[in-house]
């Protein structure tokens, strides 16, 4: 659907060169809701602007449906853009036009007949739930309603890819929810592939099936949302995951932990299958160990359950090792936690 191949982008302003993207590659497949997350300045805005060539790559390629946008002429590129809708953080609606005319604009540009435009706009406004606002001006709408108009406008030409540039960042949590549900519906009902950039991990958790984490112009981690949330490798990713999933020991538990010989602190990630089987029970039956649950949390992502637990094992170290191996065999992610970090009695 959309493939970004080893793209570099540098801006030069007043003699100062800024490298916004340094070798970014990603592949958005048909039907995906692909999220790109990063702090401001990570390069994600530049990245999404490459997808419809609002920005041209300095180096590398952007392919949509297998065609390199860089090889298109200006008019071919304009044609290709009709297949890519875009919505914006600040909606970018024409303040001087009524809601109806805002949604109609892409069709007017295509010189569609009045009747065809009326029909399509009515249909779109109904889909986004704004049938009664056709005659209003954008200034009379709330932020969420404005974004719905933006979405209707982006869908007017029946695109197969929808780009969402921080589309919910200017909205309150409740409105964000309703817009995200709308995007999900668009993806499911119209089979439109969605690329979202955001700095809110909750957006990714809510609707994305794939995620890429950006930092300093590079993608530092990418994969299915379940994978990345389950085993965030990079520090930045872990920080993002922490904003939606509590997976750290609480302060009072931390203080009670003592680093003792024969004890091991382990963080476990249960994903998918492993959450429905009595794995821990079987482990205790098979190995001579004890464990104490210091922390447990259940989160739902992509209609799958993700369980994070922190256990303190005690027993023979060889036996604990075997038990952990057993868990790994059952596809449970294991992360050793250093108890010394918490134990203040040793300092």
């Amino acid at each position: 659907m959309l493939e970004i191949r080893n793209v570099y982008k540098t801006f030069t302003r007043k003699g100062i060169t800024i490298e916004a993207l340094k070798g970014v590659s990603l592949n958005v497949e048909k039907g995906d809701i692909f999220g790109v997350i990063g702090y401001s300045g990570a390069g994600k805005s530049t990245l999404i602007r490459l997808a419809n060539y609002l920005e041209r790559p300095t180096e590398g390629q952007v392919l949509v449906d297998g065609f390199d946008l860089g090889e298109y002429s200006a008019s071919e590129l304009r044609e290709a853009k009709k297949n890519i809708g875009m919505i914006f953080q600040h909606f970018n609606l024409l303040e001087s036009k009524k809601v109806f005319d805002n949604v109609a604009i892409p069709l007017v540009l295509l010189k569609k007949s009045k009747e065809e435009i009326r029909q399509r706009v009515t249909e779109l406004l109904e889909f986004v739930g704004l049938s009664d606002k056709a005659g209003s001006y954008p200034s009379e709408l709330s932020g969420g309603q404005k974004q719905r108009v933006g979405i209707a406008r982006a869908l007017a030409t029946n695109p197969s890819l929808l780009l969402c540039d921080e589309a919910t960042s200017a909205l309150d949590p409740q409105t964000t929810q309703s817009i995200l549900q709308l995007l999900k519906r668009i993806n499911a009902e119209y089979n439109i592939t969605v690329l979202i950039i955001t700095h809110e991990m909750s957006v990714i958790q809510e609707i994305c099936n794939k995620v890429a984490v950006m930092e300093e112009g590079k993608i530092i981690e990418q994969g299915s949302v379940l994978e990345v949330f389950g085993h965030p490798r990079h520090q930045t990713t872990q920080n993002f995951v922490k904003t939606v999933i509590q997976n750290e020991l609480t302060a009072s538990v931390q203080q009670s932990i003592k680093a003792e010989h024969g004890r091991r602190l382990v963080k476990l990630h249960f994903l998918g299958e492993s959450t429905t089987e009595p794995v821990l029970y079987e482990m205790v039956r098979a190995y001579d160990i004890k464990f104490n649950i210091l922390f447990a949390n259940t989160t739902e992502i992509q209609e799958k359950t993700l369980v994070t637990m922190i256990l303190q094992f005690s027993g023979e170290s060889a036996e604990i090792g075997k038990a952990l191996e057993f868990l790994e065999q059952h596809e449970i992610g294991i992360e050793e936690v250093d108890a010394n970090v918490f134990d203040h009695s040793n300092r």
Partner: protein, 219 residues
């Protein structure tokens, strides 16, 4: 002290001449100035029709013409005026320099109005695959209309000021009346009357412009 040699008819005549000069030069000046303003915006670096050459020529030319005081422009282009209208005196002779004076001014004002348009709108237009002409026609101009009306109002008021100097070439008008009868013949009544007329005229035009802009904006 409150007597004057100027008749009511002369006043009417002067008002008509002023309106003529302002009206015609505003119309023709807009025909030239508005496209200039649009060109300045679209050809500037980063514009939808970025063109270094056009921008690099248009921009200083407008500055040069704008830096000439009207009274100097008026006499400096007499040969050109004669070429266009066949004479260098009278109302029509005043209109030629008025146009040349106001067109670049309008161009600059239009440029400012268009630059106020939210860059996000331009980005949206570009993301829809609009041609440069469509960007101007469907996005840039409609979004700037309120501000454009205010710009033209400012230009009109500027023109009224400039017409006062049209008397130099026998252009007539209210300002001429004030100088020839009021100032040169010490007719205080004429001076006061013309000042009042000009104040009313400018006030009227400004409120008209404000009302129109507000109505069109509706936001």
């Amino acid at each position: 002290m409150f007597s004057t040699t100027v008749t009511g008819e002369q006043f009417m005549q002067a008002i008509i001449e002023t309106i003529q000069m302002v009206g015609i030069s505003l119309f023709v000046g807009s025909l030239i100035g508005i496209p200039f303003g649009i060109l300045l915006v679209v050809t500037r670096p980063g514009g939808v029709l970025e063109n270094r050459a056009v921008y690099a020529i248009l921009n200083p030319v407008i500055n040069i013409v704008r830096s000439l005081p009207f009274i100097i422009l008026l006499v400096a282009i007499v040969p050109f005026t004669r070429l266009i209208v066949g004479t260098s005196i009278g109302t029509s002779a005043a209109i030629v320099p008025l146009i040349i004076y106001i067109a670049p001014y309008i161009g600059r004002l239009v440029e400012n109005s268009l630059l106020e348009v939210n860059p996000g709108i331009m980005e949206a237009a570009e993301s829809m695959g609009a041609t440069p002409f469509q960007v101007i026609r469907y996005f840039l101009l409609p979004e700037a209309v309120g501000s454009l009306i205010l710009s033209l109002t400012t230009a009109t008021v500027g023109l009224i000021g400039a017409t006062a100097m049209a008397g130099t070439v026998g252009g007539g008008g209210v300002g001429d009346l004030a100088i020839v009868y009021g100032y040169q013949r010490f007719d205080t009544v004429v001076v006061i009357a013309t000042v009042l007329i000009l104040v009313v005229l400018v006030q009227g035009i400004q409120s008209l412009g404000n009302t129109l802009a507000r109505k069109i904006r509706r936001y």
